[in-house]
């Protein structure tokens, strides 16, 4: 899932000083799971903005909506009339949702309320951590299901480095596990340690951001 975090309130409020009618739109998928942009967070944002703007823009009218998936136009379509009737749309989706609204409703002013952080998973209640960097060429088969691109601070394909100590990464030994320790432990458990004897060539980053903005086209699904 995509993990995001609310922007600081003053940063959001700074864009709304002259807004008369504000529509806050949440997304009930990834950002709801990471407690950043679901229905509940939209309500909290509405209240917080009323308080933040109480002196500078007390007349602001705030409408709150939350839809299933802001990154797909079909889910946004029912909001067309409301978006047209508001001065500003504050999207509480990830960056994909914000851009989908902006592309779908070209005249609308759409601002983001969240900082999209990474693709990850909930480790436990209230804790999310990165698992995929979207490099476009998955190597999880070689590394026991532990991604050295997303989870090694140095993205090493031939690790570990000298900064691995007691299974922790030198970048932040308290909070970051050494991905290469995890890879070793996992390959050891599944009997594939011999995979580590292979030297990995430099990674071809053309499938990642180095190839420019990416697009996937399935010809069999396009007429």
């Amino acid at each position: 899932m995509i993990v995001a975090k609310r922007k600081p309130l003053p940063e959001i409020a700074a864009n709304l000083q002259s807004t008369r009618k504000l529509l806050i739109v949440g997304c009930n998928t990834c950002v709801a799971i990471c407690l950043a942009g679901g229905e509940k967070e939209v309500a909290v944002m509405g209240s917080a903005l009323h308080l933040a703007l109480r002196n500078t823009n007390p007349a602001i009218v705030i409408t709150q909506r939350s839809i299933e998936r802001q990154c797909e136009e079909e889910f946004n379509a029912p909001l067309a009339e409301e978006i047209a009737a508001h001065d500003v749309v504050l999207s509480m989706a990830c960056g994909v949702g914000v851009q989908t609204l902006a592309e779908q409703f070209p005249s609308a002013i759409v601002y983001p309320a969240l900082n999209t952080a990474f693709m990850g998973r909930p480790e436990e209640r209230g804790i999310w951590s990165e698992r995929c960097a979207g490099c476009g060429n998955c190597v999880l088969d070689k590394f026991g299901g532990v991604c050295p691109i997303a989870r090694c601070s140095k993205n090493l394909l031939n690790g570990p480095c000298g900064g691995s100590e007691q299974g922790k990464c030198e970048v932040d030994p308290k909070n970051i596990d050494c991905a290469w320790q995890l890879i070793y432990d996992r390959l050891s458990r599944i009997g594939q340690l011999d995979r580590l004897l292979e030297v990995e060539p430099p990674k071809d980053w053309s499938t990642s951001r180095h190839g420019g903005p990416r697009k996937i086209v399935r010809e069999d699904m396009v007429l």
Partner: protein, 131 residues
């Protein structure tokens, strides 16, 4: 909206609720500027409830939950305290002083303490008004 004289007490019915009932039974009603909101457990007091209290005109909000270990729902007071801290941070981001939101642990037999806490909680506001 907010920073008025009203104090909203958001409290667990099992502890703070008993205190409020005890005070009422003794003929010691809460002051007129204090509004009591009963919830079934401290764990139900979230950021939204606290912000809405300010939004609806409260100048100060006091969150009252059972002592840790005395919560019927086990962790309710811990959740209430954590959420009060988060709400205080958000209030400060919104330009409202964090001291206007206070969290207190309370037990059903503390009827003598609550009026004093309210008085102490109000002191900075009284001091501001008298300037």
């Amino acid at each position: 909206m907010t920073e008025g004289n009203k104090i909203v007490l958001l409290g667990c019915a099992h502890s703070a609720g008993e205190v409020v009932a005890d005070l009422a039974a003794r003929g010691l009603a809460l002051p007129a500027h204090v509004e009591w909101v009963s919830v079934p457990c401290g764990s139900t007091i979230d950021e939204l409830l606290m912000l809405r209290a300010f939004e609806s005109g409260a100048g100060q909000v006091m969150v009252l939950a059972c002592y840790n270990g005395a919560c019927r729902s086990v962790d309710g007071s811990l959740w209430a305290e954590k959420r009060a801290r988060a709400a205080r941070d958000l209030l400060e981001e919104a330009g409202i002083a964090g001291w206007r939101l206070q969290f207190c642990n309370i037990a059903p037999n503390m009827a003598a303490d609550l009026p004093q806490w309210i008085e102490e909680f109000r002191e900075p506001v009284v001091a501001e008004e008298s300037k």
